[in-house]
Symmetry: C2
Subunit: 643 residues, 2 copies
Amino acid sequence: MDDSTLSTASNTSLQNETTTDTAPQGRGATGTMARDRAPAHGQVTTGPIEGSRKTVSHPPGRADITVPFREIDLDPSANEPPVRVYDTSGPYTIAGYHADVARGLPDLRKPWLSGRGFRQVTEKRAVKPEDNGYASESQAVPHCPAPHEVLDGDAAPLVTQYEFARAGIITEEMIFVAHRENLGRSAMVEGAEARRADGEDFGAEIPAFITPEFVRSEIAAGRAIIPANINHPELEPMIIGRNFLVKINANIGNSAVTSSAAEEVEKLVWSIRWGADTVMDLSTGRNIHNIRDWILRNAPVPIGTVPLYQALEKVGGIAEKLTWEIYRDTLIEQAEQGVDYFTIHAGVRLAHVPLTASRTTGIVSRGGSIMAAWCLAHHRENFLYEHFEDICDIMRRYDISFSLGDGLRPGSIADANDAAQFAELETLGELARVAWSKGCQVMIEGPGHVPMHKIRVNMTKQLKECGEAPFYTLGPLTTDIAPGYDHITSGIGAAMIGWYGCAMLCYVTPKEHLGLPDRSDVKVGVITYKIAAHAADLAKGHPAAQIRDDAISRARFEFRWQDQFNLALDPDTARSYHDETLPKEAHKTAHFCSMCGPKFCSMKISHDIRKNAEREEGMARMKTSFRDKGGKVYIEAEDIERV
Amino acid sequence: MDDSTLSTASNTSLQNETTTDTAPQGRGATGTMARDRAPAHGQVTTGPIEGSRKTVSHPPGRADITVPFREIDLDPSANEPPVRVYDTSGPYTIAGYHADVARGLPDLRKPWLSGRGFRQVTEKRAVKPEDNGYASESQAVPHCPAPHEVLDGDAAPLVTQYEFARAGIITEEMIFVAHRENLGRSAMVEGAEARRADGEDFGAEIPAFITPEFVRSEIAAGRAIIPANINHPELEPMIIGRNFLVKINANIGNSAVTSSAAEEVEKLVWSIRWGADTVMDLSTGRNIHNIRDWILRNAPVPIGTVPLYQALEKVGGIAEKLTWEIYRDTLIEQAEQGVDYFTIHAGVRLAHVPLTASRTTGIVSRGGSIMAAWCLAHHRENFLYEHFEDICDIMRRYDISFSLGDGLRPGSIADANDAAQFAELETLGELARVAWSKGCQVMIEGPGHVPMHKIRVNMTKQLKECGEAPFYTLGPLTTDIAPGYDHITSGIGAAMIGWYGCAMLCYVTPKEHLGLPDRSDVKVGVITYKIAAHAADLAKGHPAAQIRDDAISRARFEFRWQDQFNLALDPDTARSYHDETLPKEAHKTAHFCSMCGPKFCSMKISHDIRKNAEREEGMARMKTSFRDKGGKVYIEAEDIERV
């Protein structure tokens, strides 16, 4: 019902755009090329994903909450409704949308936040030269002019989604994500129960239909988080938890020489275009404060950072010079900007460091090695561990979610599941409980490099040690021997741990271990992880996951080539690969493919078989004639033993 | 010991070459480009894989048996022996090797075969016009001039490796593969027992060291096969079975317009260069008899075909016109050429066809749909099923291994593990027993499209129904929604089913469902499947699998960049990716990487930690100073609870 209310007023610019939007026609390889080419100077990539139409939907009775989706219209011959898919791309994919990165995105959450008694900060923390790595005028990326008022929840009784959930209050963010996870449906997906029963969920409890109350209860239990800094009003909320769709994160970072702020924003826009649910800004060096401002003001997805990286910059890259004061000030700096989650390496305890001495690859986490170096230099306990409650107090004020960093994750198959890794995991569980007691949202970071047979125990132990807090893993890579293809070595491990219960998968690009990813590496990394996450949703028996697989399979069987391209995770690549062999437009409606060619086609024979099977009397005749030979024509499904 | 006998006389041209061969230096991106560019007209790709040296080794006491390997020399600073890897590339990767495709490869197996009492066929089957699709002179690929005498085992008491194994006789092929599986070692791999214990093998029984007797016993039990037609003397034998290294297959096919025979041979050479253990020639249309001759005479790996494809060509592509006589003649034709294994679609029974009528994607196997069409047209049982014993008699005479085709494999997630698929699998088990009773070697083909949670049952049921005959699967693809990336959707499933016990994985390229793979698609497909197979070997606890991972991990930790590139599955790509970010030669010896840069490096800190840990008294001081604070410095491995 609510899907038809496209003319209803809305607080986002989505509405008018989408109503005038129409389903684009396939533009073949040209479209592809145009898409993958970098945008003009000062611009970011905009326009619909090939074959898709941006749409919006409102939760029942909440026309004030506008949830974005993507719809793929199918060929009329299919007689099927459009296939609606989860969409992370923000307004950038609205047809005709003009992106003005200096103005930023609309304040989607502003009306929701205004009623929560947050204090407007009149004296923001002043930007210091060290925040931008002492960038000189010539090197400087300008300050982002997009308006941004800073809120502080210090005086409010309830600030975080966790606190609201515990108080039994359903927030607009919870309503938004519930509707989003249901792909905008207001009732149960057809066949949902059957699909759930068909999967193996390893103890996850994905309902056939997601209600706001279910979202609240999952957050209250600590099993899910909605990373949403109260200073990031541009955010389209999303949820991370094992009882929801598996999510993926893409990492971006600043270039040594930045030609424009738009160039940095484009990395974000490009990542979310292909499906990144969250983006981590791992920039180092100069201009990172200003670049972060540009990114946040233009980000419809949660932005995560590793504050330790910037703190290290402020002390000239010398780990032992780090102090709690500098770190604390960096947290406030990024909190006011609106960062949604922080990776905090508080689990790297002095006592764990010696456990890494005998490793094949030592400590490979940058944050982990920074803190290990600090601990050794001072022969003291990790100051992040000792100040953990102070960190909680800060993060609670802005509802910044914890991503407890696995600083001691294994960097090789040889070091997987070792004493150092598991000692830290146990500490992360201890810290998660402290964070909850302080009202904060928490997720836990995981490995790394792990052979297939050692992946499951990582998930089992994490659930046990960390009270089911969402797990967020890097890969894991299932072998060390394929540099240049680590999106694949890790995509295998990511799909498996996602199936076992991991809530979010941090992507790995083909350049892992070798260099810095370029535009095409980022796209390949994101698509590979969308594959892993979706394969996991299917295996868990997510009630809505198979809808898209079934739609594309029917399109294949019926030779609806355009539908097959448009339903693909990457329509541009699918179309261009097809065109390499059969370029003619006519071939996109042909009832054959390049594998068998026009003379013979297996799909065609299947259609004959179907027609044949439908001819009852024909089947009867077969039956008799064959029975005469003592055979058995029909084998009922029940006859087939399933192991 | 035997590895040093490089000067011993040998019946292959490997020897002299390898002794004069030296470890090449990294040639950076230039080398890469050169490697990936297609060879000149009439040529095939030759020369060592970047950073590798071809070598040979003889089984203890058998200087007459020469087993090829590849060795990767490490930087002197590593103080490590060269890393020896399994090599499928044949003589083409010997430094300075001149490939003459008109002359073909040396007859490696000739002396072994001569003693087995096979009849030399004086009157070979004459090549008929239809064998080459009635190619006119202008279209014709010339006859391959390489000498080829045809043997027939009809009069011999023992012909197949299975028959020899059952008779308790160890053949040269068995000795060859045992030595090959041990990577040329004549004693147990160090730490092998520990690695085996560390893995999860799902009931496989991989010994710490492979003996020829073990190979014989596995073949006798039907758990493994050595596809080796007695008319393919150029073959370097390899073994397929769950208790050996997981193997991969690459498919090739002729181009519509073939400019030269070498162009078709190059597809084979390119596939095995990157690690294809077997190659299937799925050519159709014109010239396929002659092209097959060129491929076989130049193939050091087993060649598989689907005889049904050529038989269909002979009846103008009309399935119902197929007859047993035409099919039988095609088997003889290909048997005399030396094809090592045939895909036989005898499991598609008339009774199974109606089970596919309600499928989402019907029958997607080309062979399966051809036979289904035939069954329906004649309302008769599959003639391959009815003539199965006759087929066995033919294949036994040449020791052609069966690859029992899964003509009813699912083509979509929706159809996975359905009644049709499992009904056929049960029939394949029945046929496997018949084939064994006739003295033939057998493997079983498997799916297809299967979500992760339904993969395991495919393996379990196959082992149960087919008496542990080796399983040979296509993927499986774990989702349908990523055309353009199906090497990845299937690589995930392939790694998992390989771990569960699948013996050989048929590769899938990025062009699957869309078009015909080009040179780079083939390479990406092969490397992806090498990753899947290796990840499976690691997870199964294969005693030798982790050696290469450990070597590359040490190289990473010690900043031996050239070693890291050279140890990679694809050294050219690894090197070129690194050079994109840090092109200077100097950076390949730099003690930092592009991720953290020179100012800060996590690996460097790990080295400091190691030094620190080694300073006993330093550690003691830490201990005391920290104990004073009531802390605990050391956590012993035993203290860490493992789930």
